[in-house]
């Protein structure tokens, strides 16, 4: 059995392997998309959470079911579903995060057979009534998972699951901390592999793997690469090393991210005291910094912007970056509307920005080389 980063790399290259093994052993696997479904509930029900992703390969089958004028990431996920790549998944939980995910749920349900489906409505507002509504939605989800898993999720076991997932997040943060120094002890390419691996195995194994990796990485004398420029990457979904790898090859270290399959997913924990469902609702709706959730501000424009984006600026300071790349997937409306604001906000704070709007495909990514190099030359 491989250890540490090797373990992660192998899993990254064959993501479904462990889930398939577990299934042979009689476990049930629950697929979920986006950072919003509470994995804690899935774990507490004795099920294995598995994050659904796409691929940068050309999309073919999905075009018979989905318009080509929508988020290529979701289209690619559906493409894999139709091609039976997610056959090992027993059930699906899809949240209402964006229009694309929301609507694709029904289509997936119609054409890809799984034995269990659950749609989780997520409010867009951060009001007390919204948290109350969402906690209720989580309760409904809990009930349906209990039924599917044939178990009762007691408060105790839910709290235990939350604890384990909090630990998972803490480990990821610890690992991320090792990127602060120059050169970063772990490269962004490695980090992406770790993230992808961590989201395809049960959380207990994931924790073990992460501890293993932290041990390995902390003993490194030097980072794998030492580049003059330190970058932050902001954006929606990056689930493949291709883009990050290209950036690193062009001569930069990506040292911190604000991505859906990156820090956005693990920066904040669930509070342990009190009603676990309310706490889960609070973390997901209140603390995941995704443009799909509205942030109220009754103050000035500046206060509003700080409220929405200052954490990115803080990341940039803390990790000492020289520039930021906004990686926005075309047709992703919530991110597209925020992008000019994020760009200006960071520029205002003295951080140079490269704004890319991508088709989520290998060919389009390869075409960015000159742009990335020119950007690096610009901020050197």
């Amino acid at each position: 059995m491989a250890k540490g980063l090797d373990w992660a790399k192998r899993l990254y290259e064959n993501r479904s392997q462990r889930a398939k093994e577990l299934r042979e052993e009689g476990k049930k696997v629950i697929g979920y998309i986006c950072a919003f479904p509470p994995r804690e509930l899935i774990t507490a029900a004795g099920l294995v959470p598995y994050r659904i992703t796409g691929t940068l390969e050309p999309i073919a089958e999905a075009d018979a079911y989905l318009e080509t004028l929508m988020c290529p990431y979701v289209r690619s996920c559906l493409d894999l579903g139709i091609k039976k790549q997610y056959d090992f998944v027993d059930g699906m939980i899809w949240p209402h995060t964006c229009d694309n995910i929301q609507k694709t749920f029904d289509i997936w349900k119609h054409y890809v057979p799984h034995s269990y489906f659950h749609y989780l409505d997520v409010p867009h507002m951060p009001d007390p009534s919204s948290f109350e509504f969402f906690a209720k939605e989580l309760d409904v989800l809990k009930g349906s998972l209990e039924e599917f898993g044939g178990v009762k999720i007691t408060e105790e076991c839910l709290k235990e699951a939350i604890g384990v997932h909090n630990e998972n997040r803490a480990l990821l943060r610890q690992l991320t901390g090792l990127r602060k120094q120059a050169p970063p002890l772990i490269s962004a390419t490695e980090m992406t592999q770790v993230m992808m691996a961590a989201m395809s195995i049960p959380v207990y194994e994931s924790n073990e793997m992460l501890k293993n990796i932290i041990e390995e990485v902390s003993t490194r004398k030097d980072g794998p690469q030492n580049k003059a420029t330190r970058l932050l990457i902001y954006g929606c979904e990056i689930d493949d090393i291709a883009f990050i790898n290209l950036v690193e090859e062009c001569g930069a270290n990506v040292v911190i991210d604000d991505l859906c399959m990156g820090t956005r997913d693990y920066w904040k924990d669930v509070v342990m005291e009190g009603d676990p469902l309310k706490n889960l609702a609070h973390r997901i709706l209140g603390e995941i910094m995704c443009p799909r959730t509205f942030r109220r501000s009754r103050g000035t424009r500046q206060q509003d912007l700080d409220n929405r984006f200052s954490y990115i600026r803080d990341f940039a300071k803390e990790f000492n970056v020289n520039g930021a790349i906004l990686y926005i997937i075309r047709y992703c409306d919530t991110f597209e509307f925020d992008a000019p604001e994020v760009r200006d906000y960071l520029e205002e704070a003295g951080i140079r920005v490269l704004h890319l709007e991508d088709d989520y495909s290998l060919t389009s990514i390869q075409g960015y080389k000159t742009r990335i190099q020119a950007f690096l030359e610009m901020i050197e």
């Binding site: 140079r352 389009s364 075409g367 000159t370 742009r371 190099q373 020119a374 030359e377 610009m378």
Partner: protein
């Protein structure tokens, strides 16, 4: 000390050799089978100044084909090089629009440095290739297209965006008897409006300099001015700004290294055939 800049574009390969001033500049085709023969253009430039290759202190390669040039010390993107070249010619420049064979770019410049850029290289519409394809189909020389179009009284609209279909549309328009200048004016406007709209994302500020091979086409330049609402500047030889910038950047790097006593980072350079794929 001598410095060289090599700009291997999709259409043209340009080489500049300079010390304090530009000593030689050679423009050769990149196209078709010449593609890999960038070294020949270099040799021609060396011949002009009568220098052996080893005398050149530093060679910077730029442009679409910069990636695998065995005789360069360093690769720098055409965006940085253009900005450098343009601001050495026009210190007042704030926006550069470069329309080459394979792409169109907008570069925002402050104090001679790039502060922002946009670029299109996905679709041939709005690039020099568009004009090449049309010129080819009409049997025109690229040099005459601009002037010809200025005679137009009644610009036609080209309804196809795609270069391939636009070319066909143009040919049949002309067969129908539409005056060639009207068709050309329509084409130039099509390119200008496409490029202008892209560059507008940078918030265009004066002075605006237009470079790249398409800047030689007065029709496109006029159409760009129409969009901007003010005159733009065009260098005497708009093809060379990238190569000049590359040479200047090489010079800067060398001088900086000498000043600080650091060794100059050099490539193991050989004056031989360049490849296009990594």
């Amino acid at each position: 000390m001598y410095f060289a800049g090599v700009d291997i574009g999709s259409t043209m390969t340009k080489v500049v050799i300079m010390d304090e001033v530009v000593l030689a500049c050679v423009i050769g085709p990149t196209g078709a089978e010449h593609r890999r023969l960038a070294n020949k253009v270099m040799e021609e430039a060396l011949r002009q100044v009568n220098l052996p290759f080893d005398e050149i202190s530093y060679v910077v390669a730029t442009g679409y084909g910069r990636i695998s040039v065995p005789f360069a010390d360093k690769q720098i993107t055409e965006i940085t090089c253009h900005a450098k070249g343009v601001s050495s010619l026009f210190p007042t420049v704030h926006t550069a629009i470069d329309i080459g064979g394979q792409d169109a770019k907008g570069i925002k410049i402050a104090d001679g440095r790039v502060v922002g850029f946009v670029m299109n290289d996905k679709c041939a519409a709005g690039t020099g290739r568009f004009l090449e394809v049309i010129a080819d189909d009409l049997g025109l020389r690229l040099e005459e297209m601009g002037e010809l179009s200025l005679n137009s009284k009644n610009r036609v609209e080209i309804s196809s965006t795609c270069t391939v279909f636009a070319a066909q549309e143009v040919v049949s328009r002309i067969a129908e008897g539409t005056p060639i200048e009207d068709v050309l004016a329509g084409l130039h406007e099509a390119i200008a409006s496409r490029v202008f709209r892209m560059v507008e994302r940078l918030k265009i500020e004066r002075d605006v300099v237009v470079t790249g091979g398409v800047a030689k086409n007065i029709g496109v330049v006029k159409a760009l001015e129409e969009h901007a609402g003010f005159p733009v500047l065009v260098p005497e030889e708009p093809l060379l700004t990238g190569a000049v910038g590359a040479a200047l950047l090489g010079k800067e790097l060398t001088l900086k290294a000498l000043e600080s006593g650091r060794p100059i980072e050099r490539g193991a350079r050989r004056l031989e055939v360049a490849t296009f794929f990594e």
